[in-house]
């Protein structure tokens, strides 16, 4: 016996506009416009017609040429690859 699983990522087609905090399973392909935070355990793919303004948290990401994106991105936070922060490398030290 086997189970049929929905493994395809969610799709936001061109012309669709969404605003708010969004969460997806198994990734998302964005062809429309999103304003808000996106979090997923898969891949976020922004196609050339896609527009995203907001933060993204995911495991992988692809921004194709022509797409518009602006926001803070955190990818692979579960990998443990990030260096340990000590106040940031290029930030000025707070004066006492």
């Amino acid at each position: 016996m086997f189970r049929i699983q929905h493994i395809a990522p969610s799709q936001i087609g061109p012309g669709l506009r969404l605003r708010g905090d969004l969460s997806f399973q198994r990734g998302v392909v964005i062809g429309g416009a999103i304003q808000g935070t996106i979090s997923t355990d898969g891949c976020v793919q922004v196609t050339p017609t896609g527009t995203v303004y907001g933060a993204v948290k995911s495991d992988a990401m692809v921004i194709e040429k022509g797409a518009q994106f602006e926001g803070y991105v955190t990818i692979g936070s579960g990998t443990g690859l990030f260096p340990k922060e000590k106040g940031g490398l290029f930030r000025r030290r707070h004066q006492a």
């Binding site: 602006e70 803070y72 990818i75 260096p83």
Partner: protein, 260 residues
């Protein structure tokens, strides 16, 4: 000289002949015959292809033999250094070469700018780096300065700190911590690669599963031009700047007067 034995087809007598001979007279019957013995082809060293590079002064495509260490531009006549350098200790000499520069892990280089065809960084560099082909950031490489090249690559296992990177393509296999990264075409982070930057601007982005990225991202239009290089301060530049300032101020004055 190498010799081989050949047999006369008329009298079947044998005699020694040079390996390069193609015909001979038989020493027994004095008949002429062609030597048909299979001769090994002599290995001939093929001439190496000339090195082709572009003069950065006049953008002329120049040629030089691969062993040349310097030449002059065929068009503008400027001196072109073709040597490759390896910086090991403390150094601050200005470098401009059409060869490659390798900053070894033991080096501490401090200068305004280093320009080369290819640059490999494994040591500490406090300078701006400009490469005509590529910059490779290797293990323990540290660059406090801007970097500009068509391709910037951070190799696997490297842990690199850099200030400002600007390239057509940026490929990250290791760990890169930078202030700003600008990839005109594509930014690729391969599995196992890490990029932490304050600001990232790119036309296309590819972050593989198993890679890590943190930073503020802005997308560029695909045809966005690279930031113009800082020009040396000359009298002409100052005059130009003054003119542009005047034109701006005139335009502002005109706009204000119109709005009133």
């Amino acid at each position: 000289m190498k010799k081989h034995t050949c047999t006369c087809p008329h009298c079947l007598s044998t005699q020694q002949e040079s390996a390069s001979a193609i015909s001979t007279y038989c020493r027994n019957c004095n008949q002429y015959y062609k030597i048909e013995a299979p001769r090994k082809r002599r290995l001939v060293r093929l001439p190496r292809e000339n090195r082709v590079f572009t003069c950065q002064t006049c953008q002329w495509s120049c040629r030089a033999v691969p062993s040349a260490i310097s030449t002059q531009c065929e068009n503008c006549g400027i001196y072109l250094d073709l040597r490759s350098y390896r910086i090991v200790g403390t150094n601050g000499d200005p470098l401009f070469t059409y060869g490659s520069i390798e900053f070894a892990s033991t080096c501490a280089y401090r200068a305004m700018e280093a320009v080369a065809d290819q640059i490999f960084v494994a040591g500490r560099v406090h300078a701006g780096l400009r490469a005509f082909t590529s910059i490779e950031l290797q293990e323990k490489g540290s660059v406090r300065g801007w970097q500009r090249a068509p391709l910037i690559r951070v190799v696997e296992g490297a842990s690199v700190v850099a200030l400002h990177l600007e390239a057509d393509v940026v490929e990250v296999f290791g760990m890169l911590q930078a202030d700003t990264v600008r990839a005109r075409h594509k930014l690729k982070i391969h599995a196992g690669g890490v990029l932490v930057a304050r600001e990232i601007s790119c036309a296309g982005l590819e972050v593989a599963r198993g890679a890590a990225l943190k930073g503020q991202i802005y997308t560029l239009q695909p045809d966005a031009e690279m930031v113009p290089e800082p020009q040396p301060v000359t009298a002409e530049n100052i005059v130009l700047k003054r003119e542009t300032n005047e034109s701006v101020s005139r335009a502002a004055f005109f706009f204000l007067s119109e709005s009133r």
